[in-house]
Symmetry: C2
Subunit: 273 residues, 2 copies
């Protein structure tokens, strides 16, 4: 399981302020902490000021890349911002994201193809997020066809089946998991990624729900997740889930994480009977 670190996101107030004030220290701290915690990519989202987005994204890229080796994941729906940022990126970035929306496909896919980037593709189009697995798969097929036509190999596509909050529809996780299994069958070379925490939006004690959903998503084939790599509970759940799912030969990763203290929170001790 590879992790895309989610913390450098301009829709978060603290990060928005740091971008506005050009506070490089705060951004670099978030970058190095996430890299040290094992993120495979760092998501970089400049926020919602559309006219400033290209400049802000370039500033973020130029601020972050001198301090970490980890590649970036350029997070924008705006082809102009992505095209500008990609010029200053040193290591091939991931692009977050395309979808079935023609504007995104036409604006972003050529960039992805030209630079050989991995790309996140959302199972939604200009009509929104489909309710059912079948309709999400129609969007996925359309996006995969467009990617293929642009010369982007399946192995560079990270499909995001999308998770809506359970607060609105208690079948929402089942729909997402069904979509993941359908993608695994139909596009075995594509990757599966997801921002997990939306599943619990509006509900209390969200981490319990998020950890259960991570476990079930891993079982359904998730191989990449957008999350906070500094969230120890989430990482502990991930390491335990990989063990139970048979992905951890001789329990090596689990026992190594244990020795490194990953399970040593207050409750981990109490439960260590």
């Amino acid at each position: 399981m590879r992790i895309i670190g989610e913390k450098i996101n301009g829709t978060r107030q603290r990060v928005a302020q740091a971008i506005e004030e050009r506070n490089a220290d705060l951004i670099r701290d978030l970058a190095t902490q996430q890299a040290e915690a094992g993120a495979a990519w760092l998501d970089v989202n400049a926020g919602t000021h559309r006219s400033r987005e290209p400049d802000d994204l370039i500033w973020l890229v130029e601020t972050i890349q001198p301090v970490v080796e980890v590649p970036l994941c350029l997070d924008s729906a705006n082809p102009q911002a992505l095209a500008a940022a990609i010029q200053v990126v040193e290591r091939t970035p991931m692009i977050n994201s395309i979808s079935g929306e023609p504007r995104r496909l036409e604006g972003i896919l050529p960039l992805v193809a030209e630079h050989g980037c991995p790309v996140i593709a959302l199972a939604m189009d200009d009509k929104g997020i489909p309710e059912t697995c079948e309709r999400r798969m129609e969007v996925v097929r359309k996006v995969m066809e467009a990617a293929c036509a642009s010369g982007v190999p399946d192995g560079n596509v990270y499909l995001d089946p999308l998770a809506m909050t359970l607060a609105a529809n208690t079948d929402s996780a089942l729909t997402t998991l069904d979509t993941m299994r359908a993608i695994r069958r139909e596009f075995p070379d594509a990757h599966l990624t997801m921002g997990l925490s939306n599943i619990s939006f509006g509900l209390p004690a969200r981490s319990y729900i998020n950890r259960v959903f991570l476990t079930l998503a891993l079982a359904a084939g998730l191989d990449c997740a957008i999350l906070d790599p500094l969230d120890r509970e989430m990482k502990a759940a991930l390491v335990a889930a990989e063990l139970v799912l048979g992905h951890d030969r001789h329990c090596l990763n689990y026992t190594r994480a244990y020795r490194a203290g990953l399970f040593n929170g207050p409750r981990a001790k109490a439960s260590h009977k």
Copy 2:
């Protein structure tokens, strides 16, 4: 999900001592605590003193049943102990357990049939616990045939696919989950139960593994579990898993558990962002 409370077990030192000393208070405390925590049955295991087992089991039953309404789950491999205890039980008990071992089938199934008891059936025989799902299913079929021939309906059988520790074989959970799905397909009216904690025997920070395994087992069709109903972390994981799996209409059970403080441990607060 119905819970069989596991705490009155004579293989635990504290309980063995209470049985030896006829310490009714300790046993009754364990009974009322588990009943108040929502156990649907209370497992009653008199321990390993074979010659004393019938007397000890009768004492346990007569000690427990005046203080709780919850039915008991008589836990013994010894037909004589079960036959003796069943005479003093007031509410139809569950029997724990039969298996593919002829001695158990012949000794215990007639009791189960005569008294109309639900019964736990282990996916093992006198050769031990089969390594593969296919071999466990052969045992399951043999047991289900014997139950049917004795007049025990499928709906009274709680099949336990058995979980071996991941420490010995990291495919162990996958084998158990595969067996559960095969049972669900082949015997849709039978129930699925399991003692979950064996999956993590010999490993550190066991509760992390147990909670992941509970989540995956629920997704595979588990509808009954043998566990400690006083383990709040396990119950919190269970309530969250039932929500994510679409078993909790309008999130009512989850939000009720939240309001009752189930998620209010030290970490639950920290993660409630």
